[in-house]
Subunit: 390 residues, 2 copies
Amino acid sequence: MKASEVREILRYAKGDVISFAGGLPDPSCLPSEDEICSAIDYISKVKEKAFQYGLTGGILELREEVARYCAEKLDIKTSAEEILITTGSQQVLDITGRILINQRDYVITELPTYIAAIQAFSLFRPNYLGIPMDDDGMKIDYLENSLRVMEEEGLRPKFIYTIPTCQNPAGLSMSMDRRKWLLELASKYDFMVVEDDPYSQIMFKDTNFKRLKSLDTEGRVIYLSTFSKIYAPGVRVGWVIADKSLLNYYELAKQSIDLCTSSVDQYFVLHALQSGAIEKRLPTIINKYKTKCELMRRILEEKMPEGSKWSSPVGGMFIFGWLDERVNTKKILMDVIQEYKVAYVPGSSFFVDGSGWNTLRLNFSFPTEQQIEVGVERLAEAIGNELRKL
Amino acid sequence: MKASEVREILRYAKGDVISFAGGLPDPSCLPSEDEICSAIDYISKVKEKAFQYGLTGGILELREEVARYCAEKLDIKTSAEEILITTGSQQVLDITGRILINQRDYVITELPTYIAAIQAFSLFRPNYLGIPMDDDGMKIDYLENSLRVMEEEGLRPKFIYTIPTCQNPAGLSMSMDRRKWLLELASKYDFMVVEDDPYSQIMFKDTNFKRLKSLDTEGRVIYLSTFSKIYAPGVRVGWVIADKSLLNYYELAKQSIDLCTSSVDQYFVLHALQSGAIEKRLPTIINKYKTKCELMRRILEEKMPEGSKWSSPVGGMFIFGWLDERVNTKKILMDVIQEYKVAYVPGSSFFVDGSGWNTLRLNFSFPTEQQIEVGVERLAEAIGNELRKL
């Protein structure tokens, strides 16, 4: 298993190593003392519900509140009946694999794509087809061509998995034209679209992006998101929006997976939504991440050897890099950690087709600004020396 | 799906219906105002860890505290390295299915057994072999015979799933002799033993029962338990103890299932263990459940028609009943709910061999004493009238 190998190596990234390998929020962006006190007051008041088992589908009040949030903030018209609360959005990926993938089904992903989605889907042994990306996200002309070839061979993908906005790991976003085109193809070739959307609320720039789910007129889009990035990952609360008939299968699967999502966690989130805490804190998160992202990008451009290219994220938590093709980022990782005291995630684990050996993902949300400055300099030195050795 | 049919019917159990169908703790046994305040103080102090992502295996401090708890209270000698914290113990069942069961593997269970374990395992399509129980739990002579027959056919079970103490749903416990015998068979016929132990801390009587894990000298027992019954089910925290090599697979699987267990929930439990809140509250829970259990059993003996038999649990939350063989408890459930305003879970869903049509499970932890008195009377009337119709 590629991913576990990398995880083993990353265990060495401690002590004085600056790590860009994680995906954690900035600790100063977590709930404040005041927020916690207020939440606790609330939770004591509803303690007979908060400390008891909840329904598998989630607390009804929260589902209603999330529906309102989706309508107001995400431009997705939905209702509590179409929403299931999950133990983080990772659980949606796991259940999606369980209920949609039969062995050898085709699943289409971006190249690169979110590693934990690959892990979740792979248990059910699909065939993957990876679609390359450019600055406007997934190349839909390439996708169309692939669909045509598949059709000629009598094949049809089960679903496309996409993170259209601030993609993880690539930090790229799909243009509006391509979003529409993707949905047209989904209709024409009759497949589902799984839209993973953890970052679109942490946007540094004004864009015209609409969520695929908000453009979906045929019930083809399964939308998933999480409160990990806009509230706190220490409470495990995500959600999925899907057609009611499909959502029943999600609920049935969840029943045997973990019975229900933590009620305490759900009441933390419900209070954060109702009290406006999420809305109030979000601009601070956006500003912090924007500053860190710009800083990291600036130093990358300044210090990294020629021939390397960096994504320009409009939001999210990651910058992705393409180095000189002779550099194998996985092969050198252990040396870079031990000699240069800086860590990253090699990109190849994110590519379902085994490519991407010269790529890497850098997280900018967790490290401090000073760590970003020093860490990128160390990385530049490491890669520069590596190139000179070739 | 049987289980979902029953769930559909049980949706009618609301309003003035008294339900013995659930499995919820008594609301008055949940954390007190004082406990919550103290926990909250603590969580504010560790907020940078409590609201952040945690390690997949669980917070190290909690794993160490659980190891201590297991040694002191459960007589299981273990260490943090052999413990994985999970999102409730249901997740252990789910992961056990994933990593141990290949299609058509044999899984042995008690007859009846925990319905959500069957649901979790069934996704991986095992063959089931059910072993009948008597007042001393699983009939190990029957098991030995089955193992011999299987061996002759070149078959070997992958594992036995057992709830040896205060079994759900049967309310029976396995005698010490049988526990030892079971482990001897596990060694002789080379299979794993999955010991599910949610209720053994809620015991109404002194017994000499030892946990299978504490008798295990060959690393064959996978032990799982939960804080749902001794702390609160609204935080989803369970744990599994297994040999380190096997535990790695649990951790890898958990990674793609939900990344990590809620940190907030883990800190609630950690504080409850460290502050002694769990230990302090446990006698109250035991007394309440003992009183309710005795009350329910007494009225069942008094009021129910002849020919019905009831388990005498030494602990836990359920009484199991065997009615006259002509009564099909599933078939009459809807009528009983609508006409007599009382609900139960038909036993047949708990039997992997499709038997048990004349059985039912009654929960005594959640209903009030008054509801137990009135509800059992209603049930007796319903079953009595049903018998007269035959």
